[in-house]
Symmetry: C2
Subunit: 450 residues, 2 copies
């Protein structure tokens, strides 16, 4: 994408009530726009990051048999009365239609997914267990969707919102063995997701769940803007909510000695629950077991706030100059900077080189030793994936082609926006033998010959 085709600009104007680092940085860099406390619009750069995060989540959930669906925000009141959550959930938004029908604005979808799935299952055969050999997975559905919470106080920027993006998955089982097994599969998958997102995350027993029937885990990322505190060990991955350490040990839970653990403020970036029949029972979901007797399926549910994850990544990956996105979620991998030179020949040389890179005919390759080199692929009979190579390449390159800004201003913007690799093609870089390649994360810079 060319910067002159991007309507956002970096700014120093931050709403006066915005005290969180993640929202401040995301607003300054033009990734989000604040609507009101806890409600943000995603602008082009921010939406690209959000899409990258959500597509990583999708990929991993599809691999464990997750079937993507898209449920609704408007829920009939009767669903939430059935589970005693119409009055029981204090952050539930409620609204009334012209015809006086009452709806919940969904903050969670157990009340919808249970009857939906229930309408398609009749027999134990509809709820298979995991089998690696046969490639079968339990019935597991998920959606990535906008959720609403009537928070008394929205805070921490994108971390605790009134309107936010979330992935929620629900799975159904004929017995505890299948339920427990898939719960562990999802737990492992979550850690893979966070790892690909660039987050070091610990899975911890949720405070309510110690040795109770309804097991639940939270996924905590060490992050100063979080609301929790964990005790953790980097070496063996053990982590626990610091407020339940003593109780956990007293009840016989195994944990490293307290003084060997690190303590840190953390942000919850996901949670998984064993719901058992909490929802299948009130919705009267019943199937036939192998002996043709009625069976109420068991459920798990698994949440992962994708816009919150975006906020947590922004909160962790930054320095005094701005954002430093992990490559997996960065809006663009490359931030290309050129300047208009007065000398026409030089100007043409710079633009030709930049266009070649932008259109994908010149690619930057990182060698095994970490060094970069350019590969000219104009002459190759390269299997182009997109029919229009410029469309494909422009997915990876943000080209600051502005004519009215200096290299200095452009570098400042590039540092704030935070794409992993900056390339500067200028009079100076050419005099030094090529293109200046700067690593936003390490700060290293080197001129690479073309």
């Amino acid at each position: 994408m060319k910067l002159t085709n991007l309507f956002t600009k970096t700014t120093k104007d931050i709403p006066s009530d915005e005290t969180s680092k993640n929202a401040q940085l995301l607003i300054r860099a033009g990734f989000v726009h604040k609507t009101m406390a806890g409600v943000y619009a995603f602008l082009p750069l921010g939406l690209r990051v959000l899409n990258n995060i959500e597509n990583i989540v999708r990929k991993h959930l599809n691999r464990i048999g997750g079937q993507e669906i898209l449920m609704n925000s408007l829920h009939p009141k009767i669903w939430w009365e059935k589970t005693n959550r119409w009055e029981g959930v204090d952050i539930l938004f409620k609204l009334k239609s012209q015809t006086n029908s009452e709806y919940a604005l969904a903050c969670s979808h157990e009340e919808q997914v249970t009857p939906v799935v229930g309408s398609f299952i009749n027999s134990w055969k509809d709820l298979p267990q995991y089998s690696k050999v046969n490639g079968t997975f339990p019935l597991s559905v998920y959606q990535i969707q906008t959720k609403f919470r009537d928070e008394l106080r929205a805070k921490s920027g994108l971390l605790r919102g009134r309107e936010f993006r979330m992935k929620d998955m629900y799975d159904f089982h004929i017995n505890k063995e299948s339920q427990d097994e898939y719960y562990e599969i999802v737990k492992e998958t979550y850690l893979k997701i966070y790892s690909e997102l660039g987050l070091k995350v610990y899975s911890v027993q949720a405070s309510g769940g110690i040795f109770t029937e309804n097991e639940s885990h939270e996924f905590q990322a060490v992050c100063g803007a979080g609301e929790d505190e964990i005790l953790y060990s980097e070496s063996d991955g053990f982590a626990i909510n610091s407020e339940i350490y003593d109780e956990y040990v007293a009840k016989g839970g195994k944990a490293p000695a307290k003084e060997t653990l690190k303590k840190a403020v953390s942000a919850e970036v996901g949670n998984i629950f064993k719901l058992d029949d909490k929802y299948t029972k009130p919705f009267e979901v019943s199937i036939n077991d192998k002996d043709n007797k009625p069976l109420t399926p068991l459920m798990n549910c698994h949440g992962l706030g994708t816009s919150r994850v975006l906020g947590v990544i922004a909160e962790i990956y930054n320095d005094e100059k701005g954002l430093k996105w992990p490559e997996s979620v960065a809006p663009f991998k490359y931030h290309l900077i050129t300047n208009k030179e007065k000398d026409e020949t030089l100007n043409k040389q710079i633009l030709d080189l930049a266009s070649k890179f932008y259109s994908g005919n010149l690619v930057l390759v990182q060698k095994e030793n970490g060094e970069f080199e350019f590969d000219d692929i104009t002459d190759f009979n390269f299997p182009i994936i997109s029919k229009d190579p410029s469309e494909f390449a422009s997915e990876h390159v943000l080209w600051d082609n502005r004519e009215n800004a200096s290299i200095g201003e452009k570098l400042k913007d590039a540092d704030l926006i935070g794409c992993p690799i900056q390339l500067v093609i200028s009079k100076r870089s050419l005099e030094n033998g090529g293109v200046e390649v700067r690593n936003r994360n390490s700060g290293e810079s080197k001129v690479v010959a073309v």
Copy 2:
């Protein structure tokens, strides 16, 4: 995707209040689940079609410089008061928070996009005109998002909903020339989008817009479930709302003689409006013109209901057996049917062949004369796009691998689900020399040698 990994089933159970053909078919085939009148959840097959539709829309809008963003559903009351729409829009859902703040649940996003874009523009330089040579486009943003309308009566299945998916685009201009020019570009683009979606659509002057300042066009598809009536000519593409034909001609509008036009019930599948300064004025968006004087930008807006389009396609593309999706939006291109045979050798032969097709190592190619042939690409050094070929292939193939259903039942389901090409690998097809390839649209069937 293997059918045994799909939790939905075809069904004969349709909610008794569901009278529209599109919703009946989509429910029977397992594409959607009805939450309540005007509110539907998208199940895996339905979401695939919706994604296909929305990605076609994206592709075309990106080509004319559209920048994708994602705005919010919760809007502060003050925005809608500014434009007199808090009281003025009767289908606006309103809700109150715990802290007594009032919000609109957005049915449209002029109230949000205007201040958002306004915060990024200062000068006429920020609002370029279209230039084919320079590759510049006017500032144009769009989103594809869930919208809410408090309809008194939701009806026609997915055609008039209370919660639905919509693409809305907004563009900003320094003068009428640029505004008018881009309006025409979007109008052309809309026709390209509908054409790729498989819809024959006419652009008609909206009834309110005859020779008034605020021009507006509707896009109408001939469709029995629609709410409008048009007079149209297939040969030259002329179309007009039948109720304004007389007035239009009386005021000097050029139109073919009434008796030469066809009359049909039609469904609106999009609309475009010239908003001028209707929103930029109350939101006090002001930039400097070339003479450094204040200028209020002009706006257009362009709506396209993506879930409604899905309903219209379902309403048009079907027969007594079920759905017949155009290839561009079909959930899968191929519906592969195999049966478990008692003879082990034969069974293995069938499964091997099916697996080969499913994993992308055997591809069906349509020759110039329309005939099909299979290409075995196992031996080729084929540039595989996905690293895991089976992941890639399974995007295109729905494999009915059930062991407990007959070929007859499977064909019935395949006809109902409506993927464009059905392949049957069975004892009979192998005896006849290969794979039976059936065209869902034409009904033609042929055995193609492998």
